[in-house]
């Protein structure tokens, strides 16, 4: 077996372990996003949305579909990696990877792919829920899928870094509660930033989630507050920085080696 063959088996072992993990507890991992999103559609889409009227030329319900789907992808990709990798640290079975002849990038890729897999599964489930409330005509399958995957990768990397630094289970819920949720809610899920005063529009541009939501909205609806090229550049730049930083942490053994 050559080196690349070994790496592939190691990667697919980590990935299948991760998929099995969240599949076994689907009631905790997949189902809640479906319920929450259905509530969003009922309350914001049907009850309040009809009073808000159209946004960017679309019914309010149609306008929030991309943001809600992406919000589920972001939350699930992040929480899958942060909880799985932190558990492996807490119960010390992270040592199973550390003693094995696998390079750090394979370990990282395995965990990130696990996060992406959960993000995609939940994203598809939420999209199916959305179909109960509205019809979705996808403007660009390529852009939609690419943003779907890249966003999941980015937040899976974020979850990995959070897990590396976490010392308690509380530490893995602080970032999602106080950073991730506000960024997502203020990232244009429920509104177009054109509605905001100039100052808040400028401030919103510092929020990376805004670029993802808008690129995804372009994929689904064909409208975006941000030019697509800039959105992809920002997403890819974040992925590059977080990947480099995650590999640096693994190389140094931060949080996992003595």
């Amino acid at each position: 077996m050559n080196r690349w063959g070994r790496y592939w088996i190691a990667f697919s072992t980590i990935l299948s372990k991760e998929i099995l993990r969240f599949s076994r507890i689907w009631i905790q991992t997949v189902f809640p996003s479906a319920v929450t999103t259905a509530l969003y559609f009922v309350i914001f889409g049907r009850l309040i949305g009809e009073r808000i009227g159209p946004m960017d030329g679309f019914d309010y319900l149609d306008f929030i579909v991309p943001g809600l789907v992406l919000m589920a992808v972001i939350t699930n990709a992040y929480s899958n990696v942060v909880s799985s990798f932190y558990s492996s640290k807490f119960s010390r079975y992270v040592e199973e990877f550390l003693v094995a002849p696998i390079p750090n990038w394979v370990i990282l890729a395995g965990f990130v792919a696990g996060g992406v897999a959960r993000g995609l599964v939940v994203g598809v489930v939420v999209t199916l829920v959305a179909l109960f409330f509205t019809e979705i005509e996808i403007h660009s399958y390529g852009v939609t899928l690419l943003v779907f995957v890249l966003t999941a990768v980015l937040f899976a990397l974020g979850g990995f870094i959070n897990a590396v630094y976490a010392n308690t289970f509380d530490d893995i819920s602080i970032v999602p509660t106080f950073v991730l949720t506000p960024l997502t809610y203020l990232g244009g899920v429920f509104y177009s930033i054109e509605l905001l005063p100039a100052f808040w529009q400028g401030l919103s541009l510092a929020n990376p989630v805004l670029y993802m939501v808008n690129a995804f909205r372009y994929g689904l609806l064909g409208v975006s507050d941000i030019p697509l090229g800039i959105a992809f550049s920002i997403i890819l730049a974040f992925i590059a920085v977080l990947t480099a930083y995650s590999l640096h942490l693994l190389r140094r053994g931060v949080g996992i080696k003595t």
Binding site: I9, K17, R92, E95, V99, A100, T258
Partner: protein, 310 residues
């Protein structure tokens, strides 16, 4: 080619504590090697460095010719580790723990299944393969750690207190298994709290103390260096008064049991002759304490070792 070469290994923790102060060690291919020392002596730190779980401050590690700094994957491929503490995902079934470990070593699934079955049967775990880890007893978990460490067929197996908390029956079964494994060519390094385990299994020994190797010897030679041994004699009849035996110090335990200290200048044959001459008949005898334990205690008494003995 030596299984392990460790040269001038130092480990200084962030708080300034120097756990290893320049350790040199060589373990030959095929050896069954004991690494002993008091608690906090640096055994687990040294094992951690060799297995890439602890970053070294300085020094050189080589496993079957692979340099840890230049060829970490080569080193890891040759090593199997049974750590001191349980490190499992408690919600995984037994067989998946072994299959996943095989996957991390790049072993194809079909071959991994065959190997998992072989080692789980060997360690009497096959019947429990679908049970989740959390329902296993401590002894079964220990055995599973051995199966997991062997699934990639390492040339060097490091066992960090593998029988801690295991009942005597399972411990003996594990000894038999480890002997077979060593006879099959696997080099084994063992740390243990049970000194009779090290004495029974190992051919060579290193004693680490205060971050340095205090003793490195062949087990037989080390045991022969014992100055005195204490035996417990079970007698056929009661002995009210102890006879004076030249060269032997006798003590009553009870009417039918004696303790006798024999120094290395006298033989057990001489003891029996003297006892027979005094009309004392011995039914059985045993060492009062394990010989390696005696050596350890002597080293502590002589100031060569500090702290608890393990």
């Amino acid at each position: 080619m030596p299984a392990l070469i460790v040269r001038n290994i130092r480990k200084v923790y962030r708080n300034g504590f120097e756990a290893l102060k320049g350790v040199d060690l060589r373990v030959e291919d095929g050896d069954f090697f004991a690494l002993l020392g008091p608690n906090g002596a640096g055994k687990s730190t040294l094992i951690g460095i060799v297995t890439s779980l602890v970053n070294k401050t300085e020094g050189h590690v080589e496993v079957f010719g692979h340099d840890l700094d230049r060829e970490p994957e080569g080193v890891k491929s040759c090593l199997g580790l049974v750590p001191q503490e349980f490190n499992f995902n408690l919600f995984l079934p037994v067989v998946e723990v072994v299959l996943n470990q095989a996957g991390y070593y790049g072993i194809p699934r079909g071959e991994a299944r065959e190997r998992a079955e072989f080692y789980l049967r060997k360690l009497d775990l096959w019947g429990r393969r679908h049970l989740e880890m959390r329902v296993l007893s401590g002894g079964l978990k220990r055995r599973l750690m051995i199966a997991r460490a062997l699934v990639h067929r390492p040339r060097l197996l490091i066992l960090d207190e593998p029988t801690a908390g295991v009942d005597i029956e399972i411990r003996r079964a594990m000894w038999t298994f480890l002997r077979e494994l060593n006879a099959g060519g696997t080099t084994i390094i063992l740390t243990t709290h049970y000194l009779e385990e090290a004495e029974s299994l190992c051919r060579n020994i290193a004693i680490i103390n205060g971050g340095r190797i205090a003793e490195r010897a062949e087990m037989g030679a080390l045991l022969r260096s014992l100055q005195t041994e204490t035996f417990v004699l079970n007698l056929k009849g009661k002995v009210a008064e102890l006879p004076e035996l030249g060269g032997f110090v006798l003590e009553h335990v009870d009417d039918c049991t004696l303790e006798v200290e024999v120094d290395r200048d006298h033989s057990i044959n001489g003891l029996f002759e003297s006892l027979s001459r005094n009309g004392i008949e011995v039914i059985s005898l045993r060492n009062k304490e394990n010989r390696l334990e005696r050596l350890f205690l002597d080293m502590v008494d002589n100031g060569k070792l500090e702290g608890d003995v393990s």
